[in-house]
Amino acid sequence: MLPAYYQFYCPVKILSGENALGNIPFEMTLLGRSSAMVVTDRGVVEAGLVARLESAFADSDCRIGFIFDEVPPDSSNRIVNKLAALFREKGCDCFIAVGGGSAIDTAKGANIVISQESEDLLELQGADRITADMKPMIVVPTTAGTGSEVTRVAVIFNEEKNVKMSFVSDKLYPRVAVLDPAMTQTMPPRITAATGMDALTHAMEAFISIQKNPLSDIFACRTVDFVRRYLIRATENGKDREARLGMANAALFAGIAFSNSMVGVIHALAHATGAVSHVPHGAANALLLPWGLEYNLDVSERAIAELSCHLGGTREFLDLREQAGLTISLVRNLLDRLNRVSGLPTRLRDAGVREDKLPDIAGTAINDGALLYNPKEVSFEDALGILRKAY
């Protein structure tokens, strides 16, 4: 269905394929830059992925100005300020973020500090408050799930005020996203499964969101196709380059979809589960996905039903409700298979969540902005109900 009005934007140049990494110096030249600040974490360095990036600069006039490898699992304003100071000190003129969501968000955060010249990041929270042009940013994801390489969002933890700050602006889009299968093949099976399910959740929530539009739908559907085709393969055999590249593309498509149509109750609950019980975001999304779809079933029956054929279901002889039910059961089958292959938890209790924490999680979730875009209203009691079912 065509919405009365919609907006769609994705200005990111995408390089996808074997040895895509080798094109980074050339892309820097096109951007008129010569010295890059690489933002990453210790794990990525130890896996030898930054060495791969360095080798790409061997025969280039462009250079790596500095490698910042102190990114923690949750990006914070202290790290962001430190990175911004180093960027200025080392005379760098662009960012290359190598890693998962945290490395990418840290680079985005430092870019805000540098470009906006603001002392207090809190003032810039919210949508479209960033007006200054950013330093060019190239992103090399090493996980296949967050989609941060093509999103306009950055989330930074404020250590002094103990709050997560969200920044949403078109200025935060990276300039180039580089998908190289070599950069994701060291991911362990469980993380591969969790991040893959994160991408699937981005796509499915984008497809049923109240901000969905025909363009985001295209990306969402193709994500579901790719997840069905490649996620089990990539989880079972990490060296399967085609599956790795397929999942990297799936995550990117999902990123484009949800950046333009947003997510909903599943993400709100997953964010809260992460904040209260420290469950990894991908794993929380994965186990909450079928329950969130079920919750939205009565208002998004058609959209959920449409996804079944992308998950490998048939369309014959089924009415809308049965078709939507088929989608949910196919998601559960996928989750069970991933559980067998990688040990990905399928219940909140298996993910280490205590039952007495469920009200805290529900209370946190109802203050999550993602709920605004969910097709169905979600109260505290509704959120608690979904959590109890998923427990």
Partner: protein, 192 residues
């Protein structure tokens, strides 16, 4: 006859003075509706239990605003001593604000034709400030709308329109009753 009238109206609509006049009408209308909303916030915050419960969790002195960009009408309110108080017109350094991109973007929402969630989905609104504060403000807005608008409007603008019981209908009547003096008070520049 009808076609001729429509043609004339269309021609008029394109005239620069007509555009200016129409824009002025929209500005005045939204200014009035925002003033009504400010009064409704003050009144419901003292009478409606759901809203009292919601703002009880807010910290003292939290300011919030609703308005229209770039230079449209706006109101700022503050949470003070467990109540909501109208600070005045314009954006007075609010901690969180819902701002419509232009007068046309705001018109259907403030005319009860479109819900805030649809306006957000159609990129008509900007949210400034913490998302968590914005969610709390959104819940407060829903409580105000519930007691301000009739049922047929609520069906159109809320994702899940509430089913009001007898006591709540009586409360709604009391809110309407208190709204008129509150409007006069705000109109004459008086404060709570």
């Amino acid at each position: 006859m009808k076609g001729a009238l429509q043609k004339k109206f269309r021609r008029l609509r394109g005239k620069p003075w007509m555009l200016k006049l129409w824009s002025g009408v929209k500005y005045r209308y939204l200014d009035i509706v925002l003033s009504v909303l400010a009064a409704a916030f003050e009144v419901t915050a003292t009478r409606v239990p759901e809203l009292r419960e919601e703002i009880a969790r807010w910290e003292e002195g939290r300011t919030f605003a609703l308005g229209v960009l770039p230079k449209g009408p706006a109101i700022t309110l503050i949470r003070e001593e467990g109540r909501i108080r109208y600070l005045g017109k314009g954006l007075r350094f609010p901690r969180v604000s819902f701002l419509f991109k232009n007068l046309d973007a705001a018109l259907p929402v403030f005319s009860g034709l479109m819900g805030a969630h649809h306006a957000l989905a159609q990129c008509r609104i900007l949210v400034n400030g913490s998302i968590s504060d914005a969610m709390e403000l959104n819940r407060a807005m829903i409580a105000v709308q519930t007691y301000l608008f009739p049922g047929f409007v609520l069906k159109r603008i809320l994702k899940r329109p509430p089913k009001l019981g007898f006591r709540q209908m009586i409360l709604k009547g009391k809110v309407y009753g208190a709204l008129v003096p509150a409007l006069f008070r705000l109109g004459s520049g008086g404060k709570n």
